[in-house]
């Protein structure tokens, strides 16, 4: 259930990336990957560290995914920005 919650949170927050300038690696699809993968991985790390089972969910399960989404999006943004700079340099 926790996996489902993290994934849902990742997709939910991804919808709002439409308001950001599109500098993500692979654009909106890259942002989708960044937010969902980030949410699930970060959620899993925090979940494991806190010793909570996957079936044990509450509001904090949603909140835990938020920094994961931010980190995932930041990574994809960084990759996109670097690709842009490389393209400019060429």
């Amino acid at each position: 259930m926790a996996l489902l919650v993290w994934f849902t949170t990742g997709i939910a927050l991804w919808h709002f990336t439409i308001f950001l300038p599109d500098r993500f690696w692979q654009g909106i699809i890259g942002a989708f990957l960044g937010s969902t993968i980030g949410a699930v991985i970060f959620g899993a790390i925090v979940g494991t560290a806190s010793g909570k089972g996957l079936g044990d969910t509450d509001v904090s399960t949603v909140l835990v995914a938020v920094p994961g989404v931010a980190i995932g999006l930041a990574v994809v943004w960084f990759l996109g920005a670097r690709a842009e700079q490389q393209a400019l340099a060429e």
Binding site: D22, F32, T61, E84, A87
Partner: protein, 978 residues
């Protein structure tokens, strides 16, 4: 063959098919599932035995044959036995009103073994012996008595004394502990069972929690389906080669006391012969008139029987001192035990004085003294006659539906289907006039042919199958709508009626085939991977989709083609195409930000609901037993709970149920998974206390294994559906088209899950089928939008991708709304009139259809746009349009683009402009959206790097662009002059 002739030929063919279908419908019976006609349904899972270490095709087939023939002999008629997957068997017993006998005939392994008792006994039993006329040794007897006392079983009680004297252990734990200390015997082809596991309580007297199971993992799944903690108790592993058997005491007359607590023995698993070596078992009476079961032996069995009895007799004689009378010989004679399914049924002495050379098997043998009634003896004889199952069969799911509830469900399903059909017909007639009439004819033809197929194949019609049928009516109407909208477009564009019809079918057919292939793929994956209940739905959906292609496309094309030149179709108003029709002019892509925000907020709410309220998983997933009962005497929950306690069931939830089919005094009982005998106890107790209405008792039990199977099959079906469908879309369209489709599907499924969580509705295996259908439906809609985008791409070679998408969506929006509306009509009817089971299904469908329509328009297409616009070709188009217009309008101006396309100079001009821009601008990165150019105010360079206005070439270009803009605004204001 000319077109007209071809059409007439197709019409005659379909009419012939309808006539044949009519004959089939009149003469063939409809095969109804157990949920519609009532009865008992069981799902069994095969487990290996030492003789059959793997579950293969042969052993499963043998098990199916034994169940089928065996249950027939037990008087269970019309039994339906079929294999499900590689290791499951589904048994349906129509008309059965209780689970007891029906379940027993299918699940009782009836494995009979004969043991030379004393050499196989392990532990102190050997010392005590239990032989009549012989005083057992004092030391071991004292030790045994103490142990029985410590276990809380009175050693002074007559039946306990009997068991102590036989050398039995007071608890299963004590016997299993001893058994667990024995060595593993491998290989052991003669062994009656493989290594088994037991879970006992940690505190004394170590009551049994679970077992015997064939795997350690099975011990840690409770009957309720919940996982047990790792430290739930003590696990004992009894290695192959040793078994734990029980024996019940008997009264003074030798009658087994069925209700008495048994004693336990650890035994070497080395049977002398097995049930496969006996013949002609039958119930008879012994010399005292008591029921017994007699049987003969096969040739091998006879030899083995004589050999083992001789061995027992010789051993008895050897331990005697001098010649003995028959009575005295009993003290040293050994026992021969008949063990049926790990329970000692009888343990006679082989008196060496009476049978010094053993017993000749030619006269057969008998099991006597262990039957409470003639029926018991008859049942055992029948089980032995049936033969032992080659594998162990675990009951993992069982359900009992009363005939009343079944017929009520059928009635509800038919009512919902008819009302849905009527509303769809009214909508089609109002919206499409004569074309609507053609569609109604097609639906009628579909109904007749499909119903005939249901009878002819035959398809067992179940409740989910009816839901599939209702859905295919929507799909049939959808196919017609896709084509009719095309025809109307062509008529409005000024084509003649016959060429509009031809063009409509030509252009619509690819879309319909793509959409139907996706539906068929979903149905196929569901059929292959899903559990039995969902299979019926998938089969109906698959067959229905194929038939709908015949009636909605081939038949209607032939019908319209034949009458296209008739007076009926002279006027466009006959098709509902007299006016301009609804022309959508919505900037879907521009508005997508707001739709994304709405979806984001809904999903956040859904995530919070999933996290806090989770999903209300039904017993299909969680396992357990659910009983619905209609009582005669009015009562309340407390009284029903008391009755359950009396039946030995504690901890069950009882609630009054509102179910018109069961009347005003209906109750729903939910508990952990109960054994068939426990369900029978409940039925008997409720009958005794309150009386049960005729056919007013329904039960469903799902074991944890079945719950896991349902969950796994749902997950696999989902993953495989997605993979196959994405591969199809990538193949038919473009790999980039597949990704937005996936995202839209995630969107739909998560929104549906969120709504289920918020509303607390139960998620059953039917809901899973609905979820997977949503997947197919969402794709159907998305494919129709994408198909139009694909069609418009070559038509708009200069337009930005967002403009292509805006135009495509505007063109198909009416169709999308019309098809969603017709399908929603069917589903709404299921929701309102479909009865409890179909309502659950319809609710998931309704949420999914609304979400699917929404996501195909407002999620999938904008995502595709954002991704495609990063492609260099589309980036250049945007730059070109921005250069000309200052920004990218929502819709491409066709006249202007066409003029530019025809004007070679314009093309060169644009290329030059773009080249000039490239020289001045820094190289742009891969940015999806090209922002509108900021218009300069003189000589200053614009923010996006445009050259200064003082450049004569730039000034001239801007002047030209200004003139074009002015012309365009003029046209928008006053309309286009042709």
């Amino acid at each position: 063959m000319g077109k007209r002739r071809k059409h007439v030929f197709v019409l005659l063919f379909v009419l012939g098919l309808i006539a044949v279908s009519g004959i089939v419908i009149a003469n063939k019976e409809t095969k109804l599932g157990l949920d519609l006609k009532g009865g008992v349904q069981l799902v069994l899972q095969g487990r290996p035995t030492p003789q059959q270490p793997t579950i293969d095709n042969g052993s499963m087939e043998r098990a199916v044959d034994i169940i089928r023939s065996g249950c027939d002999e037990l008087g269970v008629s019309e039994i339906e036995v079929s294999r499900v997957g590689s290791d499951q068997i589904q048994v349906g017993i129509p008309g059965a009103t209780s689970v007891g006998k029906a379940t027993e005939c299918a699940t009782k392994p009836a494995r009979l073994y004969f043991f030379d008792w004393e050499p196989n006994l392990i532990g102190r039993e050997f010392l005590i012996g239990g032989r009549p006329g012989r005083e057992p040794p004092k030391g071991p007897m004292q030790e045994a008595t103490k142990e029985w006392q410590e276990a809380g079983r009175l050693p002074t009680k007559r039946e306990n004394q009997q068991l102590i004297a036989a050398g039995a252990y007071p608890t299963e734990y004590a016997a299993a502990k001893l058994a667990s200390e024995q060595e593993l015997k491998q290989p052991c082809p003669k062994c009656s069972q493989p290594t088994t596991y037991y879970l006992f309580e940690k505190k004394k007297p170590h009551k049994l929690i679970d077992g015997p199971e064939f795997t350690r993992e099975d011990l840690f799944i409770a009957a309720s389906g919940r996982k047990r903690p790792a430290d739930a108790g003590l696990v004992l592993k009894v290695p192959q080669g040793t078994i734990v058997v029980s024996e019940k005491p008997s009264d003074a007359n030798g009658q087994v006391l069925e209700n008495a607590e048994p004693g336990w023995f650890a035994l070497k698993d080395d049977p002398a012969l097995s049930g496969t070596e006996i013949t002609r078992p039958k119930q008879e009476s012994d010399e005292f008139g008591q029921p017994n079961v007699t049987f003969g032996f096969t040739d091998d069995g006879r030899k083995n029987f004589q050999e083992v009895t001789r061995r027992i007799a010789q051993r008895g004689a050897a331990s005697a001192i001098g010649p003995s009378s028959q009575e005295a010989a009993e003290a040293t004679s050994g026992h021969f035990a008949v063990v049926l399914d790990n329970e000692v049924k009888t343990r006679p002495i082989i008196n060496y004085a009476q049978n010094p050379d053993g017993i000749d098997g030619r006269t057969g043998a008998q099991i006597s003294g262990g039957f409470n009634s003639i029926q018991d003896a008859q049942d055992l004889a029948s089980f032995l006659q049936r033969g032992a199952l080659p594998i162990n069969l675990n009951l993992i799911s069982q359900s009992q539906v009363s005939a009343t509830l079944g017929s009520e469900a059928l009635h509800d399903g038919i009512k919902a289907g008819l009302i849905g059909l009527a509303l769809t017909i009214i909508f089609l007639l109002v919206f499409y006039r004569f074309l609507g009439f053609v569609a109604v004819t097609a639906i009628a033809a579909y109904g007749v042919i499909f119903f005939a197929l249901v009878k002819l194949i035959p398809i067992t019609l179940t409740l989910p199958g009816i839901a599939g049928l209702v859905l295919t009516i929507g799909v049939t109407a959808d196919s017609n709508i896709v084509i009719f909208e095309r025809i109307k477009e062509e008529v409005r564009a000024g084509r003649s009626m016959s060429s509009a019809i031809a063009a409509g079918y030509r252009r619509g057919i690819a879309t319909i085939i793509d959409a139907n292939v996706v539906t068929l793929l979903t149905a196929f994956v569901l059929f292959v991977l899903a559990t039995a209940g969902v299979k019926g739905f998938a089969f109906v959906l698959g067959v229905g989709t194929i038939v709908s292609l015949l009636t909605a496309v081939v038949f209607t094309q032939a019908l319209l083609g034949t009458i296209s030149r008739s007076r009926l179709l002279r006027s466009p108003s006959a098709l509902g195409a007299s006016s301009e029709g609804i022309r959508w002019h919505i900037d879907f892509i521009g508005a997508s930000r707001w739709f994304f925000s709405i979806s984001g907020v809904i999903l956040i709410v859904g995530a919070l609901a999933l996290a806090t309220k989770q999903l209300n998983l039904g017993i299909d997933f969680e396992s357990g037993t659910r009983v619905e009962v209609a009582l005669v005497k009015a009562t309340d929950e407390e009284a029903v709970r008391d009755a359950l306690e009396k039946a030995g069931i504690s901890g069950g939830e009882v609630q009054k149920e509102v179910n018109p089919a069961l009347g005003d005094n209906a109750f729903l009982i939910q508990s952990k998974t109960l054994e068939p005998s426990e369900i029978n106890e409940i039925q008997k107790e409720l009958e005794r206390e309150f009386g049960i209405e005729a056919n007013g008792f329904n039960s469903t039990s799902v074991g944890p294994t079945f719950g896991t199977t349902v969950a796994n099959s749902a997950r696999n079906a989902l993953i495989f559906s997605l993979l196959i469908i994405c591969a199809y879309i990538a193949f038919r369209f473009d790999p980039k088209f597949a990704v937005p489709v996936l995202i839209a599907i995630f969107h739909d499924i998560l929104i549906t899950a969120g709504i289920y969580s918020l509303t607390g509705r139960e998620v059953s295996s039917g809901t899973v089928a609905a979820f997977l259908t949503i997947l197919g439906y969402s794709l159907y809609d998305t494919i129709i939008v994408f198909d139009r985008i694909r069609e418009n791409m070559p038509r708009m070679p200069r337009a930005a991708f967002s403009q292509i998408v805006n135009r495509s969506m505007s063109e198909v929006l009416t169709r999308s709304l019309a098809t969603s509306f017709t399908t929603l009509l069917s589903v709404t009817c299921l929701l309102i009139f479909g009865g409890a089971t179909l309502q659950d299904f319809a609710f998931a469908m309704m949420v999914g259809i609304v979400s699917g329509t929404y996501s195909s328009i407002f999620i999938a297409s904008p995502v595709l746009t954002a991704w495609k616009e990063r492609e260099p070709g589309f980036v250049r188009r945007r730059e070109r349009i921005t250069g000309l217009e200052g920004s990218v309008p929502a819709f491409a101006d066709e006249t202007e683009l066409a003029r530019l396309a025809d004007d070679g100079e314009a093309e060169v001009e644009i290329e030059e402009e773009v080249a000039a821009q490239r020289e001045v601008q820094p190289k742009a990165g891969a940015v999806a959206t090209v922002e509108p150019a900021v218009e300069g105010d003189g000589g200053k360079p614009s923010s996006n790097g445009e050259p200064p206005a003082s450049d004569p070439a730039t000034v001239a270009r801007r002047e030209r662009n200004e003139k074009r803009r002015a012309r365009r605004q003029q046209r928008r204001k006053h309309g286009r002059k042709r």
